[in-house]
Amino acid sequence: MTAALEADGVEVWLGRRATSRILDGVGLTAPAGQIVGLIGETGSGKTTLARAIAGLAPLHAGAVRVDGVPVSGLRGAELRRFRRTGRVQYVFQDPLRSLDPDLTVAESVAEGLAVRGDGRAADRRTAAVAALRLVGLDPALGDRLPGQISGGQRQRVTLARALAVGPRVLLLDEPVSALDAANRNHVLRVLDRLRRERELAIVLITHDLGSLAGVADRIVVLHHGRVVEEGPATQVLLAPEHPYTQRLIASVPSIDGPRPIYARSTT
């Protein structure tokens, strides 16, 4: 079966020299209906990988396929046409900066639909309201500006904006890092439900290993721009093989001292 998202040998260079390489032949596969956790310390290349997959960072080498169709070679009008299908969506880490301060929540959520010319303004508004409900937000927030809602609400608004266009692949960059426990669990539950109901392939970037426990199907560990370990979530979290993964998991703070994160899973 073809995975919803396949990335092979992805290389991203900051400059022209090989020393500026940020990602070195990274591969990532996300089947439909699964959550793939992408972990690694700050600077390991997690965000760059997600941006490269989304087409926001240029690939030096490698290929990205969505539902088996190569998309990394698309340019100009062809790329715009593909993007308007909304099949790959990216949820940015900082919800305040990723929402236009001058657009209302409903306008932001409906933007993807407006770009591809779906329905009339009233239809798009209805779709935006549905997307807000989907992530557990009160539709009345639709008339507010991003600066007038809380951080947790903003994060869910960015999720609703991505979901409104009906994506196949959802790239989430630290979606719960700035949230309190209640909001974090809520967002994770929404993601868990969506991947089952909508057969979404989700790539969940995080340095908070606790947020992956019980949610991720597979985990990919990135270190210095390379994949050092990959496998089922339980295996990577409970019995990590690579020394870097072992260090990463052991470094998770705990009241009782270091222990496997999966053992103190969230609800």
Partner: protein, 282 residues
Amino acid sequence: MRALRLAVRLPSARVALAVLGVVVVLMAVGEWLAPYDPLHQDTTAILAGPSAEHWLGTDYVGRDVLSRLLAGSRLSVIAAAEAVGLGLLLGVLPGLASVYLGRVFEWLSLRVMDGLMALPFIIFAIAVAALLGNGLHQAMFAVGVLLAPTFYRVTRAAAGGLRQAQYVEAATLFGATRWRIVRTHVWQKVLPTVVVTTATAMAGALLVVSSLTFLGIGVQPPAPTWGGMLASDLGYLSQRPFGPLAPALLIIVTVAALNALADAITVDPATSTKEAHDAVRR
């Protein structure tokens, strides 16, 4: 737009708008409000002081100062607006395009603007007058062209900062065209900066019209302008010391109103909140 709407709440902005409203009214109907023909010379009342007949006195050939001020409003303001309008057109559009139309246009437009910035103003104005003839429109063309780099730079700086904004990237991921991105996400953020620059440029252009008239470029005598009156009145200070006061006051008040309006909206659009405006008010 929010920054503009919030600015109007400030008392200074309201006063500035009221003053500018009066100037616009003067511009529109000043000629008809003038009690005398602004070109009529009364040789029996040369350099006369204020009186019931001539409220602001007369000039060195006996023309009524109030009538000339009122009649000159249109020419002065239109001249400044013409120059600023041209500067806006030649600066804002290339400024936006330099950010979104690729590196070739960016490089070319930057070099053109660098070239314009290197031109000495007076020499350029004289050269334009020599090439196209000495007249108001020619002089304002010269001023407008030289104002363009200012608009280009501020627009480019404001728009360039938004190129990597995450909401712009989100729109890009939706397949939005550059035009749509500029229209939806960039223009609203750039507009307050452009408005501020326009206000200050208008103030500057009013003074430039005056200085060019002083040099005999642009508006030709006997057509009245505020700057021209100021220049001619300065030559008769010993006989009529208060002479330049009225045109100078008009220029100063208009320039101050434009600057006050500009100040009121000088708030970063990304952080334009009521609190920020309250801080300005304090």
